[in-house]
């Protein structure tokens, strides 16, 4: 008999209860149990970063976590990044404006990694962003446009913060 557990997870603000096999990866739970297919799986061994999601405010690789480990936690995926009215977030918009994605497969991980970094480091340098992105592989863009998007978003986020201060 497969070993299953009951878990409660909040994803993008919505509570989900599910009975899952204990070996089910968090990535598969999000993608195939909850049908949130925006999170991607590129290697299943923790290197590519495509599967990165936010778990209780910290980025984590959903291919290296079991769904049961997310019990009681709050998760944000790419589907939860847009503004409340459905408009693209500042970072998402910066990705479009700077051509920060081509095939789009690395994009969910890039967005989560950068969201976390910009939240904690509002004024990053190019070198710093490149360092932060070493945990996320992209085969298409050569990273340049992703870094540009990160810098662009950081500037806009600072400006919008100043405006609201």
């Amino acid at each position: 008999m497969p070993d299953t557990r009951k878990i409660t997870v909040t994803v993008n603000g919505q509570r989900h209860e599910a009975e899952v096999e204990s070996r089910l990866l968090l990535a598969d739970f999000l993608r195939h149990t909850l049908d949130l297919t925006g999170t991607h799986v590129g290697c299943e061994h923790g290197v590519c970063g495509a599967c990165t999601v936010m778990v209780d405010g910290h980025s984590a690789r959903s291919c290296l976590m079991f769904a049961v480990q997310a019990n009681g936690k709050s998760i944000t995926t790419i589907e939860g990044l847009a503004q409340a009215d459905g408009k693209l977030s500042i970072l998402q918009e910066a990705f479009q404006n700077n051509h920060g994605l081509q095939c789009g497969f690395c994009t969910p991980g890039m967005l989560i990694t950068l969201s976390e970094h910009l939240r904690d480091n509002p004024d990053p340098t190019e070198a710093e962003l490149r360092e932060v992105l070493t945990g996320n592989l992209c085969r298409c863009t050569g990273y340049q446009a992703i870094v540009a998007a990160g810098l662009d978003a950081a500037a806009k986020l600072r400006a919008s913060k100043a405006e609201h201060a």
């Binding site: 297919t37 070493t134 592989l137």
Partner: protein
Amino acid sequence: MGMKFFGASVLRKEDPALLTGKGRYVDDVKLPGMLHAAFVRSTYAHARIKSIDTSAALALPGVVAVLTHDDLPEPMRSRRLPLYVPHPAIKQTFMPWVLAKDETCFAGEAIAIVIAQSRYLAEDGAALVEVDYDVLPASIDPREAIVDGAPLAQQGAVNNIVTQVPVKIGDTDKAFAQAAHVFREQFALHRGGPFFLECRGVVADWDAGTEQLTVHASSQGSHRFKRTFIDLLDLADNQVRVITNDVGGGFGPKGSFYVEYGALAAATMVVGKPVKWIEDRRENFVATQQERDQYWDMEVAVDENAKLLGLRGRLVHDGGAYVTWGLVLPWIAATSVIGPYVLPNYQLELIVAMTNKITCSPVRGAGRPQGCFVMERMMDRIAQELGLDRAEVRRRNFIQPDQFPYKVGLIFRDGRPVTYDSGDYPKSQQMALDHMDWENFRAKQEAALKQGRYIGIGLSNAVEGTGLGPYEGATIRISTSGKIVVFTGATPQGQSHKTTLAQIAADHLGVSYEDVSVVTADTATIPFGMGTFASRTAVNAGSSVHLAAIEVREKIKKIASELLEVSPDDLELKDGAVEVRGVPGMRKTFRELAYNAVGLYGFSMKADRDPGLEATSYFKPEQSTYANSCHVAEVEVDIETGHVKVTRVLVNHDCGNVINPMIVEGQIVGGVAHGVGNALFEKLLFDESGQPLTTSFADYLLPMATDVPHVETLHTETPSPLNPIGVKGAGEGGTIAVIAAIISAVEDALRPFNVRIAQMPVSPETIVQLVLDAKGRQ
């Protein structure tokens, strides 16, 4: 018609969905009742299969079926995969069975497919299938494989030589006899694999009632897949539909039809349910085709002024176990050697070896990086030997702008003579040198050396045959809602076709590119297609969209002129309608016109009208169009650790007219990153028995954000005369010449040690060894 969108850096139509997690990649497809598959793969590079025991797997709860070769439906069971690029010079055409029949020829070859309720269970089942093998001797190194008496890579082969063909221009021996200088170099060139972020995958769904097979695939060409399913199963055109939605990168190897896809079709037919297979990364390392190795043993002859007289030698290409790509890859390499230079005499013995490794496929650049590397390293060698500046040697050998069209004297992979259509190579190089302040680098280098830092600069030029035939097509249809859709067989994997093709159509139809939807790679929407590879889509699909849009525009004007009783010449298209120039109220919307064009039920149609507001065009280029680039790279080498930091890369690229500069820039910068990997670290390793040693991203390194410099770009625009929109391909130009430029820069940084580098990639160990050897010599 003014060009409003063609040439503009408009934002991508693809992005909003991809940025919010609404992309539709193959693993996002979920069909009712869908089952999941996993493969049992050969653990040996070469073996005879004695028996397969599937009983334990079948006994596992959740496993629905296990298929081996004998379980495949006919006629698939008695057919190997078809070869679509035959060539008379190919003497032995081994192609794989959908599931290995009685022999496996590389470690990773599919032997059985397990179908289960979940992917987890399918993998559990696969682990329980027992294969009893007779291990056979294997040929791994292509140079050894072609020697008499080497173990045969395939039972029944005569030897391991797939083909041995001469490539020839002029009288090389005579040229060498008269040469002032002759230099020899042996090159070991490796190009790794594609390593797109999204592994391969297929969902196959056979409807036994309608006898139709629907396949969702991560591919570079859905029509090619459809054709193979038809050929493997003897199906009629209406029985197969292949759909490719979003694709997470392709870079060449996703263009191949793989045995797994055939097995998925078999699986859904046998179990009567849709079946999904998603390759995992480990499988990707052993079962997705790779470009790997070429060994060139070459001599170059020059006169006393460093002008090329001739080039000769031998190229041994590692073709892997099957000949899927025929001669394509080494042939491109052999013809790309010439680059932008006048080479009067050339002789190459090209040998494709069969080895017990996964089949070789073109990867972004497709042999051109190797050809370019050979010529550019020779240029550097000549400069070094004759005490000349590296740029000067190239300058003396360039094809001049007044020499176009320039006939190289060879036949290209498109079957046509290599005829360069346009370009300005001396200017391209000069622009690049000026930008990088080439002349003053020596002073910087000496200053750095005084501080114990080893910096270097290198350059490289390439000419790239792009826009290969035979054709790509586009249908443009305006439906009775007035909405405009472009259908094409081109199959993007990140190249932004949905934006660029819309830009082309929009200008002719007087609408915004946002009003044009582009549907790619659904075989139900357009009968023929070739797919996206070989930097061919802007040329082929782009030209087709251009031609079809003009036809639709004329149709719109014709119908409107009849309805409005004015001359078509007085009409202009604007904002989704056509109106009489200068009379704003006199107009017909696309909606009204489309409605009219469909015809009235039961009424006769005018004889000079075809139904519907639509047109189809298949652009068939008469030959490839030749793009070019000049790359300059700067590096800093740590001679203690062998670490190379690429500090600057400049690309001066000419891809003719540019549809969307932002997108072209993205292609070039991304291409450079790929080349950085090829130059410095991407290497697939095998042990002597053929076991792959690099099977994860921990063993095989892809370039990270810190490995790639900020790439600078310049653009020259020499419009192609060979297609109506004047474009050349842009997908591979970033990659091709950068590898040679980086290696040239590394060699330059190590000038104090006088080392020569004739390999790619060059690893830190190699650099440390080269320096140690040099120190030993000194």
